[in-house]
């Protein structure tokens, strides 16, 4: 497990979670973080993936729309900054990040336990 698997975890969490979040944000966050943590491999990486991606996945429908509006020229950089900062500057952002971290650690822990169980020779 390396820094590369952590990056792969980040990418898969954002990709799989954000698409689901377009339909229902909470499911997108849980599934995205779980898949990302599985890919990341270690508890530390899983927790970090969950911590970083959970708020982004939760707000992905807004972030995707705001970025789309910015790149198509509908809004300027000031509006982009105001909306993004005000969206993230919220007590719940921290709650989502911590929830994501717990899910990430938990999934990675289960994954490691399963691997250890397989690697332990049967007596």
């Amino acid at each position: 497990m390396s820094f590369l698997s952590f990056l792969a975890g980040l990418f898969t969490a954002l990709l799989t979670g954000s698409i689901l979040a377009l339909y229902y944000d909470l499911i997108g966050m849980v599934v995205g973080v779980a898949v990302g943590a599985l890919v990341a491999g270690t508890k530390k990486s899983g927790g970090a993936v969950g911590f970083l991606t959970a708020p982004i996945i939760m707000y992905s429908s807004l972030i995707i729309y705001i970025l789309y509006s910015y790149f198509t020229g509908y809004i300027d950089i000031t509006s982009l900054a105001i909306v993004t900062i005000t969206a993230l500057l919220n007590l719940y952002t921290i709650i989502y990040a911590i929830t994501g971290m717990i899910i990430g650690i938990l999934i990675a822990h289960i994954n490691i336990k399963k691997i250890e169980k397989r690697e332990t020779p049967k007596e």
Binding site: L22, L26, S61, L62, T86, A87
Partner: protein
């Protein structure tokens, strides 16, 4: 062993999707109406007031005003039960030149829309400002992002209705102050199914008609709610307000119940005008949906409109990617 894991994974995915299924299939509201990101409206309003004395010809009032602007919704989750709504206000060139306002004003998602209902709540900081607990706007702005939702007052969201209404059903509009158990609720009625054309799409809509003829009742309720006196000694103003009739026709998409068009007109009843005066006072507001944004109106979702593939295809490919990742990890673990 591998088969059992696949079954376990499938059950897990199905459980994860249960809330989506229950939200979308439950009688009530389509789940996407709570997240109208990118849904854009044009608003045009005309106010026309003219009064003159019949005998002397003296003109008492001659006002004519056109106000036009566009606004686009932005939304994000606030907590487990509420979605924050904000908007980007787009002012016309003339207004920008006259007022020196920026062309686009972003209002962050601070209005709290309760999921599964039509209630809109406001942040506590707004009440602190109204009731004088905070006097400084700068201080209010500092508190606004960490402000709690005040659940003592709500307004009923006019932008969506239940998706399973039928002709003759009543739809409530208005506001309610829970703390004092008072408010003003007016009943609209679903009149007919109408096909309207929006952004090149023919959409089937429900027409909801609302009639309001006694606005003094609203004034009394607002006075009682906030302990303020409005036009207490001005009987003439109260008489004028009491004689205003408002008629609104709101058109909601039949599939998800989202507002696609609205025509609201208000006029002063001729009986309220003194005998020696002639003239009229009327106003109208028209709301037109310009961009559907994230909403699935007319059976086409945002993914279809952006990249031309059905929304379901993206969801299925996401589920396939998730399944492939999980299966690969499980197989690697076995190897």
């Amino acid at each position: 062993m591998f088969g059992r894991k696949c079954i376990f994974f499938t059950v897990l995915v199905l459980f994860a999707f249960l809330p989506v299924v229950s939200v979308s299939a439950s009688p009530g509201y389509a789940f996407e109406v709570f997240r109208p990101n990118g849904t854009k409206y044009s608003v045009s309003s005309i106010v026309d007031i003219y009064f003159e004395n019949v005998t002397s010809g003296e003109v008492y009032a001659n006002e004519s005003m056109d106000i036009n602007f566009n606004f686009t919704f932005i939304s994000k989750r606030i907590d487990l039960k509420h979605i924050g709504w904000g908007f980007i206000l787009e002012l016309p060139e003339e207004a920008v030149n006259e007022t020196n306002f920026p062309n686009k004003i972003s209002v962050p998602p601070l209005l709290a829309v309760e999921e599964g209902s039509r209630r809109i709540y406001f942040p506590q900081v707004l009440f602190d400002l109204i009731e004088g607990r905070i006097s400084d706007v700068g201080e209010a702005l500092k508190n606004v992002f960490f402000s709690k939702i005040n659940k003592s007052f709500y307004i009923l969201n006019p932008f969506y209705i239940s998706k399973d209404v039928k002709i003759g059903d009543k739809v409530d509009y208005g506001f309610w102050y829970v703390k004092r158990d008072t408010g003003y609720i007016v009943n609209g009625e679903v009149k007919e199914k109408v096909k309207i054309n929006i952004a090149g799409l023919e959409i089937e809509t429900w027409r909801v008609e609302i009639q309001v003829s006694n606005l003094t009742e609203v004034l009394d309720v607002v006075s009682e709610m906030f302990n303020v006196t409005l036009f207490e000694n001005d009987t003439e103003a109260k008489n004028v307000i009491g004689n205003i009739t408002i008629t609104a026709n709101l058109y909601y998409d039949t599939k998800i119940g989202w507002l696609t068009k609205a025509n609201i007109t208000a006029h002063l009843n001729p009986e309220a005008i003194p005998e020696d005066v002639t003239g009229h006072a009327q106003a109208s507001i028209t709301l037109n949906l310009l961009d559907f944004g994230a909403l699935n109106i007319g059976g086409k979702g945002i993914v279809f409109r952006l990249i031309g593939i059905p929304d379901e295809a993206l969801l299925i490919s996401d589920i396939v990617i998730i399944a492939l990742i999980v299966i690969t990890i499980i197989r690697r673990r076995r190897a």
